[in-house]
Symmetry: C2
Subunit: 246 residues, 2 copies
């Protein structure tokens, strides 16, 4: 930390914090997963005002001495039981239209979370119910605040991230097969992919997947057992995965 000179210390002691306009700051989570082959988002039904009866992204107020990222991870663990180590978390952006909350001026910092397939958690305080909802079935008119806008930004960012990062694996368990990964891409992008070309591409991209050396149990439909992999060290894909048909 920098050293603060005596004249600045005196200036700070005399500073009146009432000079600034007070804002409330919240975090909202766009928590995404792939469950049952559907690209889905976690939504809660609000049981308190404002927007009682509407559906919303999970979130809440930031504590006075809490870092933004810490507030997001705390909400994530409290409301959904997802541990930080089991998911990928990044900031999506700040949303602060003056009329976004009828109570007062609020700036919401939205976070994007990729989680593996999990059971829907139990509702927390202020929520009537919690559920995974496929993103293309969300009723935008029933979303509280500006959450339709936040959700759209999160979904778009997620689709783009799969192209140039290995984050699709964040939607899978620690040990995964190439087919698991392919089903993530198909669900998020909404397009079918050729299993043979996908296999060649993924196994040929350095740092994407690392073989475990064992095979996955055979699925309910039979077929040859698939090799198991875990996430590799790469943070960016070179070359990128390409969305078809454009």
């Amino acid at each position: 930390m920098r050293r603060i000179a005596a004249d600045e210390r005196a200036w700070l002691a005399a500073y009146d914090p009432r000079a600034f306009a007070p804002f409330a700051v919240t975090v909202d989570m766009v928590l995404l997963t792939v469950t049952d082959g559907r690209f889905s988002v976690l939504l809660v039904e609000r049981d308190t005002h404002p927007f009682r009866g509407f559906i919303a992204l999970p979130g809440g107020f930031v504590e006075p001495e809490e870092d933004l990222d810490d507030a997001a991870v705390r909400r994530l663990e409290q409301e959904t039981g997802v541990r930080r180590s089991a998911a990928y978390v990044e900031q999506l952006g700040a949303f602060g239209a003056p009329d976004r909350d009828p109570r007062m001026r609020v700036v919401s910092v939205a976070y994007l979370v990729f989680a593996p397939d999990l059971p829907a958690p139990t509702p927390g305080a202020g929520a009537r119910s919690v559920a995974w909802v496929p993103v293309d079935e969300v009723d935008r008119d029933r979303l509280a605040f500006d959450h339709a806008h936040v959700l759209a930004a999160g979904v778009e960012r997620a689709r783009a991230k799969l192209e140039y990062t290995p984050l699709a694996a964040a939607f899978c368990d620690e040990e995964l097969t190439v087919a698991d990964l392919r089903r993530v891409y198909e669900a998020v992008w909404g397009v079918p992919l050729d299993p043979r070309n996908f296999h060649r591409k993924v196994t040929g991209t350095p740092g994407f997947l690392e073989p475990v050396g064992r095979a996955a149990p055979v699925g309910p439909e039979g077929g040859r057992p698939a090799a198991l992999y875990r996430r590799g060290p790469a943070r960016w894909l070179h070359p990128a995965m390409l969305r078809p048909s454009r």
Copy 2:
């Protein structure tokens, strides 16, 4: 706007806004340009506490009834004279570590701006001087607040944006040549590019550039006059420009 039911209206009337922790909200601008072949950022030298004598990104407080984007554009026009229509503006993200400002709890929403080559503006209120500084010559230890962190995020985002969007043209004048655009890529990425392959790539990507039909005046070093183009309608590049050597 949604209709607010009577019970919610009553609840709102009884709501005490002192229940939330007050934050100050600021905007900070990572204003980038390419001047004299150098990838540079606009920095001010602070003349007021806190961090008096340090260098900082231009920015300031958000007004109580002001949208975040509007606050950023207002600061841009006030402090630098850059008009919104002449530049590209996007939100970079929120930065809100509890100790980032010694006065009080502040969340800063950073904005990334790409501007064409402009003369350095005159210093505004609270600034001793304003200057374009090449990004690889910035003295990180002299940067105020967490601006070293914000600047690094902006520079990294800008380098990535040039790959998959046509935003390099936002660093050029309205009418530009292929060589102008190439010099932007070379300055931002810090690598030399083959002029012939670059020309083929850029003119072959639909929607990137549209020919004006005229030629630019010959530069100081002579050579064949270059055709003039203006920005095309594309928002994404397909296929993307690729950074070499990786």
